[in-house]
Amino acid sequence: MDLAALTECLTTASCIITQTTSGLIIGLLLFLVAAGLTLIFGVLKVVNFTHGSFYMLGAYFAYTVNGLTDSYVLAVLAAAVGVGLFALAFERFFISKVYASNVLMQLLVCYAFILILDDAVKIIWGPEFKSMGMPAAFQSPPLFIAGGIVPVFYLFLIGVTLAISLGLWLTITRTRFGTIVRAAAVNPSMVSALGINTGLVYGAVFALGGLLAGLAGGLAAPVRSLTSGMGFSILIESFIVTVIGGMGSIAGALLGAILIGLVRAFGSIGFPLFVEGLMFMLMAVILILKPSGLLGKEG
């Protein structure tokens, strides 16, 4: 524990700016993963334990495409589309078979896929850490804002993730697809009685969730080291985010993700060895005070 360092950081503008931007990056990338998790849960009532592996696949897809084409934009698009398609196939061929069974079976199918995908990544890309490197367009000196160091790529990431979040919000609230999804979350049998193919909706929601996770993995690839276990830690974090924000609430996921990002960024200065512990404590406190999460519906 190093409270002196934390107070010193909190009293200097440069440190606050540096830590806040890195907290926002962590939080917003986490939001993309958590939003998919919470969306899938809200509609299908299934917690997708393989969601972290989707993120990992996105990062590795981006790594490969970036190596082949040397284009970061193509790499991120390939990650999003590739993982979206993978998620669709996963839903149609595996998860849809266990909707009716109990939680135990859903858990086992996901557990099996985490094991298989982690090993598949090791076989295809090798067991050692990979790093993708910063795209050429962002290899410029960092900006100095009020004494704080802010890399240009970070600003780009914040802008892009915010734009995606806005797009997601508009899709859910303003489009026909969004209306169907929201209706299916509340009463799937009514939706199906109105002549809408709910199986298709479920597949689409899973694909959208996978797309967001792949996007997050692809976007994060230049600033993270890639390894076969990277999916599991982000799964745990995005779960904490959804519990804090309220399961099924996308706005709650955004709030929770930014909160967790800031806790990680500032916690790493004050409690370097206990950052994970801080997140769990935050979650425990919120669960005790409001079991349904900050923006979750009661009951």
Binding site: F41, K45, V46, V47, F94, K97, V98, S101, N102, V103, L104, M105, Q106, L107, L108, V109, Y111, A112, F113, I114, L115, I116, D118, D119, A120, K122, I123, F232, I236, F239, I240, V243, M247, L273, F274, E276, G277, F280, M283, A284, L287, I288, P291
Partner: protein, 330 residues
């Protein structure tokens, strides 16, 4: 009509016979591989059966049960290394501290239901795991508890001896299983079944559901820790892997593989999965890939555990016999 409720004396008889058979095994077939296998199965049998108290009997699918297995191993190892107490005292310390941990974690987790419960128990397990990794001076970090666990002699039992260690592990397993059997056949055990089937009704009938679930959670945690202790004694140390999420995943698979509908199902699952793990690690380095495929075959293809098939077959036989009897009468 209904089968007579199994009595405690009958369970005691079965347990005694099983104990005698397993203790005689190394004399009939002396092999280090066999005794090592049985000791590992003892640890996993306690672990999986205690998980089934939650999953099968109370309907609480915990995905963080490995937390107690790992905690038991570390707590036992640390008491032996740091406090220099005798083995029975270390066991008592471990049981009490695990009960305290399970009470604290359970009090928070039980507020959530179904899949939320599964995920929050997993989160707490990962908290313990990251603590074990980070607290290097106490736990040795990712190297695990090094230096071996001392095994001082007590009451004429010397766990440094291979044969004593074998007998001790097997006795712990059988006594643990018998104790858990007693729990699930007690009125409290039937309360848990009612909570699983209809919590609202149980609550309406005046049962304090939260308290009953918490008690079950603590009991399950303590027996999982017992399994962890057997494991720590066997490897003479403790490793972070014991508390990692894969341990919980394997526990759930053992329960499913063996079958949730019978008491001995998880033990059968522990035997089958241990065999499977041995075969896979000997044949290939891609352990996860093969285990994952096997799990998919079971979860999507067979959808039932090994003992479920046996139980179904026995029931079909009995029904065939009783219908033949009634057929004779008419």
């Amino acid at each position: 009509m209904t089968a007579a409720r199994p009595t405690f004396s009958r369970d005691l008889l079965i347990a005694g016979c099983a104990l005698a058979v397993v203790l005689l095994l190394p004399m009939l077939w002396p092999s280090k591989a066999l005794t090592d296998f049985v000791i590992r199965v003892s640890a996993f049998s306690l672990f999986a059966t205690s998980l089934n108290l939650l999953v099968g009997y109370t309907g609480m699918v915990s995905f963080g049960h490995g937390m107690f297995f790992g905690f038991g191993a570390y707590c036992f190892g640390l008491s032996m290394q740091r406090l220099g107490v005798s083995i029975p005292v270390a066991i008592v310390i471990t049981v009490l501290s695990t009960a305290a941990l399970a009470a604290a974690v359970g009090a928070i987790c039980i507020r959530l239901k179904d899949i939320y419960f599964a995920f929050i128990t997993l989160a707490f397990q990962m908290l313990l795991y990251s603590l074990i990794i980070a607290w290097v001076p106490l736990t040795g970090g990712d190297q695990g508890l090094m230096g071996g666990i001392p095994r001082p002699e007590f009451l004429g039992v010397d766990l440094g001896l291979e044969s004593h260690r074998y007998a001790f592990s097997v006795v712990l397993m059988v006594v643990g299983l018998l104790a858990m059997r007693h729990v699930v056949e007690s009125p409290f055990g039937y309360t848990l079944r009612m909570i699983r089937d209809n919590p609202d009704r149980a609550s309406f009938l005046g049962i304090h559901v939260f308290r009953a679930k918490l008690t079950a959670f603590i009991i399950a945690g303590v027996f999982a820790a017992l399994g962890g202790m057997v494991m720590a004694l066997f490897v003479s140390g403790a490793y972070p892997e014991f508390a990692n999420w894969t341990m919980s995943g394997e526990g759930i698979f053992m329960v499913m593989l063996g079958g949730v509908s019978t008491f001995v199902g998880p033990t059968a699952g522990a035997v089958v999965l241990s065999l499977l793990n041995d075969v896979i690690t000997r044949r290939t380095e891609h352990h996860g890939l093969f285990l994952g495929v096997v799990i998919l075959v079971f979860a999507l293809g067979l959808r039932k555990g090994v003992t479920d098939f046996i139980a179904d077959w026995l029931r079909a036989q009995r029904e065939a016999r009783s219908s033949a009897l009634t057929g004779d009468r008419t």
